[in-house]
């Protein structure tokens, strides 16, 4: 199988490379790195790379409250997101065993076009799963086994990198395992369902009720979306893919090591 390797630097628009990383004071950790603050939550916290710069780790209990006008916040987020991308760019190899190109996904993620990136991800999954899936426009759960480890890892890496570890399958996997693999609880955590009344949750309507934004209140693990129209088996198989076998506990480790390695 042909392995494709796209050079990140070659594709990355130049001006993005030269973007200045925001200063620590400009945007607080809590503005988008904040974990879901729920009592008894077992979700481990995603860490932002640059927070380690000052040696500060985000902390659920004591996360700083920063009141910024939503407008400002959004632009700050966009900026910081790009900044994050830059910081990761050297590390993200667009590795593919299947000979699939991930540039479009990367570009969309890099541009903060979350909805388009999400769409591209699903398209890629179909492509990876095989001809049948491409034709069908959705992946049958048992086709997930045909997706090479390297490719799924690449997709996940891209999502994580550009979202500061907020989005991505491995993030979702961690959340899912933390809630004892209860889909209902998982959907609630990642915000794919919303409360309807005191007893019931209902699915969010696609695409309008989803949050195409990295900033809060978008919950961790909210993206990429996997269709619940046909139940949970596809997502189950993705999250159980060998690509993520080594990610248990790795997230924290990885994050920590990444954070410290940067400096």
């Amino acid at each position: 199988m042909a392995a494709a390797r796209c050079s990140v630097d070659a594709i990355m628009p130049r001006q993005q490379m030269s973007l200045v990383r925001p200063e620590q004071g400009e945007i607080g950790v809590s503005s988008y790195g904040a974990p879901i603050q729920q009592a008894g939550s077992m979700v481990s916290l995603p860490t932002l790379q640059w927070s380690a710069r000052t040696g500060r780790m985000p902390n659920a209990a004591s996360s700083e409250k920063i009141v910024i006008q939503r407008q400002c916040q959004a632009s700050a987020i966009r900026m910081s997101m790009r900044a994050g991308a830059v910081s990761n760019s050297v590390q993200i190899a667009l590795e593919s065993e299947a000979g699939v190109c991930y540039e479009l996904l990367r570009d969309r993620l890099a541009a903060g076009e979350w909805e388009l990136a999400d769409e591209e991800t699903r398209r890629l999954l179909c492509e990876l799963a095989g001809e049948g899936a491409v034709k069908r426009k959705w992946v049958y759960f048992s086709e997930v086994q045909f997706i090479p480890v390297a490719d799924l890892k690449t997709i996940d890496r891209l999502w994580r990198a550009y979202s500061k570890n907020k989005f991505g399958y491995s993030i979702q996997r961690r959340i899912w395992k933390a809630v004892d693999k209860s889909w209902t609880a998982f959907f609630r955590k990642v915000g794919w369902t919303r409360p309807l009344d005191e007893k019931n949750e209902t699915y969010r309507s696609f695409p309008l009720e989803f949050m195409w934004d990295l900033a809060d209140p978008t919950p961790e693990g909210h993206l990429p979306l996997t269709n619940a129209l046909r139940g949970t088996q596809l997502l189950d198989k993705i999250l159980c893919h060998p690509a993520f076998d080594d990610t248990d506990g790795e997230n924290e480790l990885n994050l920590r090591s990444t954070a410290f390695n940067l400096f």
């Binding site: 076009e113 909805e115 388009l116 999400d118 769409e119 699903r122 398209r123 049948g132 069908r136 426009k137 959705w138 049958y140 759960f141 048992s142 086709e143 086994q145 045909f146 209860s182 889909w183 209902t184 959907f187 794919w192 369902t193 309807l196 009344d197 007893k199 019931n200 209902t202 699915y203 969010r204 309507s205 696609f206 695409p207 309008l208 009720e209 989803f210 949050m211 195409w212 934004d213 978008t218 979306l225 996997t226 269709n227 619940a228 129209l229 046909r230 139940g231 949970t232 088996q233 596809l234 189950d236 198989k237």
Partner: protein
């Protein structure tokens, strides 16, 4: 020739999947009867269809939209929009708005715009039509389409309806499909009729005839079609002849081959008709392409502005009819072998799936969902099953008859053995007939042959996902009637809602947790077929209700432990592991209920398992939700303070467990008042243990009934948050249920997913006479022989004084002692007493308790047969025996009944003679078929032999010696043939057989529940009980019977109320009663109001019209209807009908003295400051998901302070009204009107539904009695008269409540035959005796209609009689203690005055038994 009404489609088929609604199609004045099968398919071919129009509306926040379906999108969206999903509170079933479907094209000069308005039931047409219109607007140069669509259900809303009418005003084309809800069909008809002439084209596909008649395509109209000599009609007729019974299938083929057929038609004449048929075909094709072609064809042919323009359109695309479909497969399969080959070669399948021993589940699908691509919910189920290592065979059909594809595709092509171990229908429809005319026998035959569990799951149709989630009713009532009640008649199990509906696109989507529940359960049922008997684990669950140790193992009419013992012995010999089963039932009781060593000193049941809190919380995901009612686990119930306790005992692979109680004993008053509560932790722990620790393959709930299925949640179609669903989890549930209780069995079936297996109630016997009553009977017979001898007066004096001793003075007015009586007066008194004695004597009572697997003995069957023989069955051409005998002596039986009721001595005597002769002949008949052991064997063979030998028929010998020797031989022959069959069925016990079948994962034959006397089809027992088609009642026959009862009731009330009609009657509607009688009591309410039901064109009862006052001949009586929670669950459509009837009557412009409903409503409207219509609220029940007033529980627990408290409880729990103006809102509290209405009641009334359940047998009759409550509410504090109708015998009676209580006490509690029968059942028997006394006291509490002598006599029977008292104590000390306590309580509450001596003795006894139970040694 009478016009044949051809249409047979039932109400509202379904939204997402109407394939093939079979329709009796167009009708006409001739006798032609056409049926066309439809396959309606629709849809977009890819998911996530988006429209800018929809988005626009959506962004305005006008719509609540459900479903989460990421898809390939066309445009990126940068901003994240917060959409509030405002749900409009219009109180209807759906809140979706038609505007979502409106597409307005950009107009350009010179291009004509065609406006299309459509009304459909199937929401998925929306996506398809929108796509079609968008495509036309984009690609066609010469035309633009404006389109707006309505879902039928939306037209209930007045604003929507107004918009619809307005939209029609400038529309060019109207399309309607599947408009079957009567009320809404009327609305469409009215609006459409106004515009029909102006419209360019009207296309109405299968719908109610009145709407179909409005079809218009040029010269084509529906009225022409059937009647003409058109070639199509001819062809259809010829086809029909050729194919006979398979006409539907033929029609389906015909529709599909129309293009070919059309060639042979004279095009010039039939052009318009041809276009109609083609339209139909496009419509059935359903895809955007087909619909686009349909619109182009119709508009270019009929819209004037398009005349002359050449618009191109393609031929209809035809799809495969029936076959196998798999989401991964490149094509559909027409052959099971091909499918299996493909399946076996799948590259994606893992080892588990490739294992030849993997379970196989058959799925039944609607073709339309597949061809339109609206198949997400199907895919979810297929994936879920395969992911769990289960193979699937998903078959589909576009026609109505799913039994055909079952036959073709679910059998191994080589071995011809069934390929599957369980079948799940995802269509929601009955197997044969879909929403139209069902053929249940054919379905049952097909399923019997396949012999696997058959599950019918439900997609949401009339509601969006959110609407269903929010609804306390759960599933839309019309869908319940169509897709829950009807499939049950096929033996369908587990109505699990597995898919939702997106309000925006109308598309189906999986409900992930529901899909998981459905699939796991289907696999577990399949596993029953795969596992060996030796490894199968069964959890037998017994009840303890009311919560008291003496009640462990309660079930109506059932000797539970003997039955369990007999079941387990049978299972052991069949190969199940039942190691350590004790020798007999008594030992079994000992081991489960009490410590072996100390009979009286063990306060606890045997503990099978202690579950610590951590384990409990881990196993029970919903435990947090229980904390609101019960605090942190473990709580006080089924707990030792540290752990949750599971009571029961394991024998090999069988666990016998005690279901925890509701928990009322924990905090009774709070819970009894609660609208609804939740199960307690102990309850949840029990089921968690059964499923996850014991690992049951199936649970067997033993007898009628436990608490599981009455736990809070939606009524039908439960969600993840409903307790019965969460509790039963993934375990297949088998439930032994009394055959005479179909209504509650249905609740168990729907809410706890039970396969209900019926058991026989104990054989009835005549109550007979005893003590003073016997003496009276002897005196009467000597009076008859000696009355003319001069000793008459003397004997009469004895009769009168004996009658007084027997407390008959309240039933018959007895002359004073020493009063001089003429011989006529003497005859009359004796006649009346005699009548009363006969009434007591002939009363049926179930003797003893039934043991599963023990058929009744011959003599036990006699009384049942006598009663079966007493009823006329005109529809079957069977005449009742009493009638035949009366006829033999030139009399009419009805007239004898009447005159006997009046006390005419000769006729009382004659009636006795007739009754005795009936018994004798039937005894003679039965004795011929009895073996040495006294059991009935080989009925048919023996009788057949008798007949063939030409010997005298057994009954002839008896009759030839009597005065009835001239009885009609022909009628007798017919009757006895029928009785022979009944006898065979009574003894053909299949209760154990069916249980074994269910445990082996086989299909259990379905059958109706009910009273074997009224409906012998209930027999033999061992059937999967179902109720009936709820829209079929009340029947016309029921209406006839209802009139008789209401008229007698009114007569009786006038007699006791100075000749005045009652202004208001407060009455109760029971589910079982209405099932058994096909809606008699429902019809009674209508007749009181002076309203009659009118069946619609399809024979469904959903219209009413007032009976003119002149015809009624009396005032319209106001009613306050208290529906039982079960009635509410089963018959919400009928509650709707009743509410409409009340509102209709309240708005009639009639004199107030002739319309009490209006009179009261006006008063109430004024005093409560509401509208008259609102004041006319009379149809009440519990809040959704809650049952009973709980007065019964309070009485059983002795946990109430005073009667006021009981009345408060009744009002608090029962004041939830159903409002037909806001049917989707479910039950809403209207206590103010409820009390105001009750305050006007002059009489209270209930029906007795069958011979074996009377007033004191169960607690629910007094539980629903408002007599004293009404007395309190009335401004004059007058006690209303209370009546009970008894239609269980051929001679229907309306008695006062007091009379009925006395009759009940005499025939049961005080009758040696009854209590000795109970005592012979041991432990359970004592409890039965205690229960009768407690229920009697319940009547004192709610109605005050129990005479002192009843308690007095009971005391002398059970307490004063030393021997009896000892027996009771020894057999079941806990129940005995309760008996003693109840006597003391009756006295304490002032219901029983007695001697201090009696009381002292009771107190002493209480202390003694208490000490013994608690193990205190006084010495």
């Amino acid at each position: 020739m009478a016009a044949a009404v051809a249409s047979t489609v039932a109400a509202g088929a379904s939204a997402c999947f109407f394939s093939a609604t079979q329709v009796g199609f167009w009708q006409n004045a001739g006798a032609h009867r056409f049926r066309v099968s439809w396959d309606v398919s629709s849809g977009s071919t890819h998911e996530g269809l988006r429209s800018n129009e929809a988005d626009r509306v959506y962004r305005q926040g006008n719509n609540s939209s459900v479903g989460f379906s990421p898809a390939v999108s066309n445009s990126p969206r940068k901003s994240s929009l917060k959409v509030s999903s405002a749900v409009l509170g219009n109180g209807l079933f759906t809140q979706t708005k038609p505007d979502i479907r409106r597409i307005i094209p950009e107009t350009r000069h010179g291009i004509p715009v065609v406006k299309l308005v459509y009304v459909v039931l199937e929401a998925q047409y929306q996506a398809s039509l929108s796509a079609a219109v968008r495509s036309i607007n984009k690609s066609k140069k010469d035309v633009r389409f404006e389109i707006v669509g309505y879902l039928v259900e939306e037209l209930r809303d007045t604003d929507n309806y107004a918009m619809f009418c307005k939209d029609l005003e400038d529309a060019n084309i109207f399309i309607g499909s599947l408009i079957f809800v009567e009320e809404l069909a009327q609305k469409v008809k009215i609006a459409l009729e106004k515009e029909r002439d102006r419209l360019d084209a009207v296309l109405v596909f299968p719908s109610m005839p009145e709407v179909m008649r409005l079809n218009k395509l040029g010269t084509f109209a529906m009225s022409q079609l059937g009647q003409s000599k058109s070639a199509i009609a001819q062809l259809i007729r010829r086809k029909r002849k050729e194919e006979g019974g398979r006409f539907e299938e033929t029609m389906l083929k015909l529709v599909r081959t129309i293009p070919k057929v059309l060639k042979y038609l004279p095009t010039d004449k039939a052009q318009d008709a041809t276009r109609f048929l083609m339209s139909l075909q496009y419509w059935l094709g359903g895809s955007p392409d087909n619909l686009e072609n349909l619109l182009v064809m119709i508009s270019s042919s009929y819209v004037p502005s398009l005349k002359g323009k050449k618009l191109e359109f393609g031929e209809p695309v035809v799809f495969l009819d029936t076959g196998i479909w798999h989401p991964l497969a490149p094509q559909m399969f027409d052959d099971v072998k091909e499918y299996l080959n493909w399946y076996g070669a799948r590259r994606d399948a893992n080892d588990k799936l490739k294992n030849p021993n993997a379970p196989v589940v058959g799925l039944i699908l609607q073709r339309s969902h597949i061809v339109t691509g609206d198949d997400g919910h199907y895919v979810a189920v297929v994936m879920e099953l395969e992911a769990r290592g289960t193979k699937v065979v998903p078959i589909f059909a576009g026609g109505l008859d799913f039994s055909m594809p079952v036959e073709r595709f679910l059998y191994d092509p080589i071995t011809r053995k069934p390929l599957v171990q369980s079948v799940v229908s995802l269509t929601g429809f009955a197997l044969v007939g879909g929403p139209a005319t069902q053929d249940h026998p054919r379905a049952v035959r097909a399923l019997q042959k396949l012999d696997v569990p058959y599950i019918v799951a439900l997609p949401l149709v009339f509601q969006t996902t959110e609407e269903w989630l929010k609804s306390t009713l759960g599933l839309h009532p019309i869908q319940v009637a169509l897709q829950v009640a009807l499939p049950e008649l096929d033996g369908g199990l587990e109505p699990i809602v597995f898919s939702g509906r997106d309000s925006r696109t109308g598309k189906s989507h999986a409900l992930h947790k529901r899909v998981e529940q459905l699939c796991t359960r289907a696999i577990n049922w399949a596993d029953l077929k795969r596992k060996s008997k030796a490894e199968k684990k069964l959890a037998v669950t017994v009840f303890s209700f009311p919560p008291d140790k003496g009640n462990v193992g309660t079930a109506a009419y059932l000797n539970v432990f003997s039955s369990i013992h007999s079941v387990l012995k049978e299972l052991r010999s069949d190969g199940y592991n039942v190691n350590g089963l004790p020798e007999n039932a008594e030992a079994l009781i000992e081991e489960i209920i009490q410590d072996k060593e100390a009979k009286f000193s063990s306060p606890n049941l045997n503990i099978a398992y202690k579950m610590n809190v951590r384990e409990y919380e881990h196993l029970t995901s919903y435990s947090k939700a229980l904390e609101e009612s019960w605090g942190k686990p473990p709580g006080n119930l089924n707990s030792d303070g540290q752990n949750l306790l599971i009571f029961g005992k394991q024998y090999g692979n069988i666990f016998i467990g005690v279901q925890p109680t509701f928990g009322y004993e924990g905090d009774p008053m709070r819970l009894l008042f609660a609208k609804s509560a939740s199960p307690h932790h102990g309850f949840a722990a029990y089921y968690a243990f059964v499923e996850k620790i014991f690992g049951a393959d199936a649970v067997l709930h033993f007898g009628t009934h436990g608490s599981l299925e009455f736990m809070p949640g939606k009524q039908v179609g439960m969600s993840d948050a409903c307790y019965p669903d969460s509790l039963i989890g993934h375990i297949p549930n088998i439930y032994y249920y009394a055959a005479n209780n179909p209504s509650e069995a249905t609740i168990a079936k729907r809410r706890s997913y039970a396969n209900t297996i019926s058991y026989l109630t104990p054989p009835a016997e005549n109550a007979g006479l005893y003590k003073g009553l016997k003496q009276l009977s002897e005196l009467i017979s000597s009076y008859q022989s000696l009355k003319d001898s001069g000793r008459g007066p003397q004997i009469v004096a004895s009769i009168i004084s004996t009658a007084r001793q027997c407390n008959l003075d309240k039933d018959v007015s007895l002359p004073d002692e020493g009063a001089h009586l003429t011989s006529e007066e003497r005859d009359l008194v004796v006649g009346k007493i005699y009548g009363k004695i006969m009434e007591i004597e002939s009363r049926l009572l179930p003797c003893g308790l039934h043991v599963i697997g023990e058929p009744p003995s011959a003599m036990e069957a006699v009384a049942t047969l006598v009663n079966i023989a007493a009823l006329d069955r005109p529809e079957e051409g069977i005449f009742g025996l009493p009638g035949i005998l009366a006829e033999a002596i030139g009399r009419e039986i009805e007239e004898i009944y009447r005159s006997s009721d009046r006390g005419v001595l000769d006729d009382v005597e004659l009636l006795k003679n007739i009754n005795d002769t009936c018994r004798e002949t039937i005894s003679a008949f039965v004795s011929k078929t009895t073996n040495k052991k006294g059991q009935v064997v080989d009925v048919i063979e023996k009788l057949g032999a008798l007949f063939m030998l030409g010997r005298k028929d057994p009954w002839q010998e008896i009759l030839s010696k009597s005065k009835f020797r001239n009885a009609d031989q022909e009628k007798l022959k017919t009757l006895f043939d029928f009785l022979a069959e009944c006898l065979r069925l009574i003894v053909a016990d299949n209760e154990l057989g069916s249980l074994k079948q269910a445990l082996e994962g086989k299909y259990v034959e379905p059958g109706p529940g009910g009273d074997p006397i009224r409906n012998p089809k209930v027999l033999p027992t061992g059937k999967n009980i179902h109720s009936l088609d709820p829209q079929s009642i009340p029947t016309m026959a029921a209406l006839q019977s209802a009139k008789i009862v209401v008229d007698r009731l009114l007569e009786r009330q006038k007699l006791e109320n100075d000749g005045k009609y009652p202004e208001t009657i407060a009455l109760v509607l029971w589910g079982t009663d209405n099932i058994k009688t096909y809606g008699e009591s429902l019809a009674q309410v209508l007749w009181m109001l002076g309203v009659k039901p009118v069946p619609d064109a399809l024979g469904r009862v959903n219209k009413i019209e007032p009976v003119p006052l002149e015809e009624l001949g009396r005032p319209r009586i106001d009613v306050v209807v208290n529906c039982s929670g079960v009635f509410r669950d089963l018959f919400i459509n009928q509650m709707n009908l009743l509410d409409r009837a009340v509102k209709l009557v309240s708005e009639l412009d009639e004199p107030l003295e002739l319309n009490y409903v209006r009179k009261h409503a006006i008063e109430q409207a004024a005093s409560l400051n509401i509208s008259i219509r609102e004041a006319a609220t009379r149809i009440y029940s519990n809040a959704s998901g809650s049952y009973s007033s709980n007065v019964n529980l309070a009485v059983e627990n002795s946990s109430w302070n005073d009667e006021k408290q009981l009345q408060d409880m009744y009002v608090t729990r029962k004041s939830f009204a159903f409002n037909s103006d806001t049917p989707g809102a479910g039950m809403s509290e209207r206590r103010d009107i409820f009390e105001a209405a009750l305050a006007t009641a002059d009489a209270t009334f209930q029906n007795l539904d069958s011979s074996e359940i009377s007033l004191t047998d169960v607690s629910h009759y007094f539980d629903s009695d408002p007599t004293k409550l009404v007395e309190n509410l009335r401004s004059d504090k007058k006690k209303p008269n209370a009546y009970i109708a008894d239609t269980t015998t051929a001679n229907a009676q309306v008695r006062t409540l007091g009379e009925t209580v006395r009759l009940d006490a005499r025939t049961k509690l005080l009758n040696p035959k009854w209590y000795e029968g109970m005592m012979s059942s041991g432990y359970e028997g004592v409890r039965e005796i205690e229960k009768r006394l407690t229920n009697t006291m319940g009547w004192s509490a709610t109605s005050g209609q129990v005479d002192n002598w009843v308690y007095e006599e009971a005391n002398s029977t059970f307490i004063e009689d030393e021997a009896m008292q000892k027996r009771l104590l020894e057999t079941n000390p806990n129940s005995f203690r309760k008996l003693v306590a109840t006597f003391l309580e009756a006295n304490g509450r002032g219901y029983w005055e007695t001697s201090e001596e009696n009381l002292e003795k009771l107190r002493q006894l209480y202390a003694e038994v208490e000490d013994r139970i608690e193990g205190v040694d006084r010495n």
